[in-house]
């Protein structure tokens, strides 16, 4: 019983590694798994090394990192709100990032192109601002309740979507198409730069999240019992929400708005390893990474020359599962 969780996570890690190797081999230029491994270690043909190491590897790694970040964010949010339907996208974080990016796109070209970082920063700031808005509106009588947080989130998300549409109307077709593409979330063509930002960020934030595991469990008992057990509920909630937003905003800033990973991954994880966050958090992260990796790979291999962005594919993969979840969830 006590080993089941960690053991399962080890298995998941191996599955993820295997999936990665396979994904690196799939595509227009097919590479056998054995050759993939060789390419990673510099022992294959130049062409294989180019395709695997330069083209596909950063993309696959980004997919995994983004998926893990989003999944963790969702798990934290669901833990804090005690609601299995919570997802950072639904409560306005992604919409905030979208507004940030669109505001940038509406500015003159010179400002936009000033730095390669302009877009991720704009997205991050937008997401953070949205989170503050939501928290601010939800704060009443000294704290936020889960219900208020979620409802306000839906409201803010709706408002920000309206703002996005307003901005969209001022754009010419080209820019608008670009904005739409960004909104739908993609890990393609970004090179190593995002990974250099995201990996250390995750390396810092993930252990922080894992340390909160037991506190998250106790928060799950509700405000009264948690307070009775010595948890400073409001403070903890704020901290965990900040962590959740940080993870989510980072992922969205770098890869656009990939929704539903934060919603689905925790549920998948829970059905495998149970509700205790010590196991749930790593499990959700691994599953999230796997989900986005599979979605992205499917998106680039299944449709011939057209590529569908990961965001759309995650929805396609996740939708049936999500509906099934909704049907049987009790929260």
């Amino acid at each position: 019983m006590t080993l089941r969780g960690p053991l399962t996570n080890v298995v998941l890690l191996l599955v993820l590694a295997a999936a990665l190797v396979i994904a690196l081999g799939l595509g227009f230029f097919h590479v056998a798994p054995a050759d993939v491994l060789r390419a990673l270690f510099g022992d294959a043909t130049a062409q294989q090394e180019l395709v695997v190491g330069q083209l596909r590897l950063p993309r696959a790694l980004l997919a995994v990192l983004v998926g893990a970040a989003l999944a963790l964010s969702g798990t934290l949010l669901q833990g804090v709100t005690g609601n299995g339907l919570a997802d950072p996208g639904i409560v306005g974080i992604h919409a905030g990032a979208g507004v940030g990016v669109m505001l940038l796109l509406v500015l003159p070209v010179s400002v936009r192109e000033a730095s390669a970082l302009a877009q991720p920063v704009a997205a991050f700031v937008g997401a953070g601002a949205a989170a503050l808005l939501v928290y601010g509106f939800a704060f009443k009588d000294g704290g936020v309740t889960a219900t208020r947080l979620l409802l306000v989130g839906v409201g803010v998300a709706a408002g920000l979507s309206a703002v996005m549409l307003l901005l969209a109307l001022r754009m010419n077709d080209q820019v608008f198409a670009y904005a739409v593409a960004w909104q739908s979330g993609s890990v393609a063509g970004k090179g190593w730069a995002p990974i250099r930002v995201l990996a250390p960020l995750l390396a810092a934030l993930v252990p922080l999240a894992l340390l909160q595991a037991r506190r998250l469990d106790v928060l799950g008992f509700g405000r009264d019992v948690a307070t009775g057990l010595g948890v400073a509920v409001e403070r903890q909630r704020l901290g965990l929400l900040a962590l959740s937003v940080g993870l989510s905003a980072s992922a969205v800033a770098l890869a656009g708005s990939i929704s539903f990973v934060g919603l689905i991954a925790p549920h998948m994880a829970r059905s495998i390893v149970g509700p205790r966050h010590a196991n749930l958090l790593p499990s959700a992260a691994l599953l999230g990474g796997l989900l986005v990796l599979v979605a992205d790979t499917a998106g680039r291999t299944l449709f011939g020359t057209t590529e569908l962005p990961a965001g759309v594919m995650v929805a396609a993969v996740g939708a049936p599962y999500f509906l099934y979840l909704l049907g049987r969830s009790k929260a």
Partner: protein, 331 residues
């Protein structure tokens, strides 16, 4: 005293609506003085542009706007009564997302179709979206609490939206979709009005029939059955009315958000909880809202038109936030 209140409001609102329609017809890029309007409507057609504008553009626009507003508001009132959930409304329950998706699917597969099939597609799509949210919520033991509804609606909308985005990217239909998703009656015509009319009438008749039963339903299923009401019949008729009204409205005017949410609440505030009064009053309020918003949208930055959907969001989002702050009191 209560009975008189309803009638008084009905008369007041009807007069306001009439005034608003007249005002709406005079407003726009080309200011048309009331005298010209009068001539255009009641006098002989002298073939001038002014008359043309009044007859073929502005008048149908006001009429369709009123129909759409009334339909959405009545649908919202019915939904709130049927689900006993104050957050139920067409835009929050996936109708808009469903309709968009259906339209995009149709546009992708058969580009350049006429109006009629598109309206039908919108109707079908809206039904699918709503049924998804309804059905999923009904399956769960916890039922459709306000939070579950908001989240389920947001999630289903997001999912369907992701599919829509995918198709838009694949088939390059961006611009047309934009105006649709923003929601408005810019392209209103007599033809649209005539197409919508049967659905509108059918829905309104059903809504009027159902209204008294909804008041009883608000007391709870058990009490309602004890008072001799047939729950399934009520729900079936109600759902049909909602689909006819909301589906038709969304198909004609796109995503005019929040009318269906706000109007019933306002109506309840004015005339109390008897649905026999709430439904028609909400209808009048909704019509008024859309006609005024449409007119204002033309006044803001002429000749540019701000879509109705954005203006209703200006009212709707603060309302939702205000409501969210009042409501969340659980842990």
């Amino acid at each position: 005293m209560p009975r008189r209140r309803g009638r008084v409001w009905a008369i007041v609102l009807a007069l306001l609506l009439l005034a608003a329609c007249v005002w709406s017809v005079t407003v726009g890029a080309v200011r048309t003085p009331p005298a010209t309007v009068w001539e255009a409507v009641f006098g002989t057609d002298n073939g001038s542009t002014a008359h043309e504008v009044v007859r073929s553009l502005r008048l149908p626009r006001a009429v369709v706007g009123a129909m759409v507003g009334a339909a959405l508001a009545m649908a919202g009132a019915l939904m709130q009564g049927l689900t006993r959930n104050p957050l139920a409304s067409p835009s929050l329950m996936g109708l808009n997302a469903g309709a968009s998706l259906a339209l995009v699917v149709l546009m992708a597969v058969y580009p350049g179709l006429g109006h009629t099939p598109l309206i039908v597609a919108g109707f079908v799509g809206a039904s699918v979206g709503a049924l998804l949210v309804f059905g999923v919520g009904a399956l769960s033991p916890a039922g459709l609490t306000p939070v579950r509804l908001a989240l389920a609606g947001a999630a289903v909308s997001g999912l369907l939206g992701a599919f829509t985005t995918g198709l838009v990217l694949l088939y390059g239909i961006a611009q047309g979709l934009l105006f649709y998703s923003v929601g408005g009656v810019q392209n209103a015509s007599w033809r649209q009005a005539l197409l919508f009319a049967p659905w509108w009438l059918a829905g309104t008749v059903l809504a009027t029939v159902i209204a008294p039963r909804l008041t009883v339903l608000a007391l709870g299923d058990d009490v309602a059955v004890g008072l001799g009401q047939r729950l399934r019949a009520t729900r079936a008729i109600g759902t049909l009315a909602v689909l006819a009204l909301a589906g038709g409205a969304v198909a004609v005017a796109g995503n005019v958000a929040f009318v269906g949410l706000v109007a019933p609440h306002l109506a309840r505030y004015f005339v109390g909880v008897d649905y026999r009064k709430v439904v028609p009053i909400a209808g009048l309020l909704g019509a008024l809202l859309v006609v005024v918003a449409d007119g204002v949208g033309r006044l803001i930055r002429p000749p540019f038109e701000t879509p109705v959907g954005l203006l209703t969001a200006v009212i709707g989002v603060p309302f939702l936030l205000y409501y969210a702050r009042r409501v969340g009191h659980s842990a």
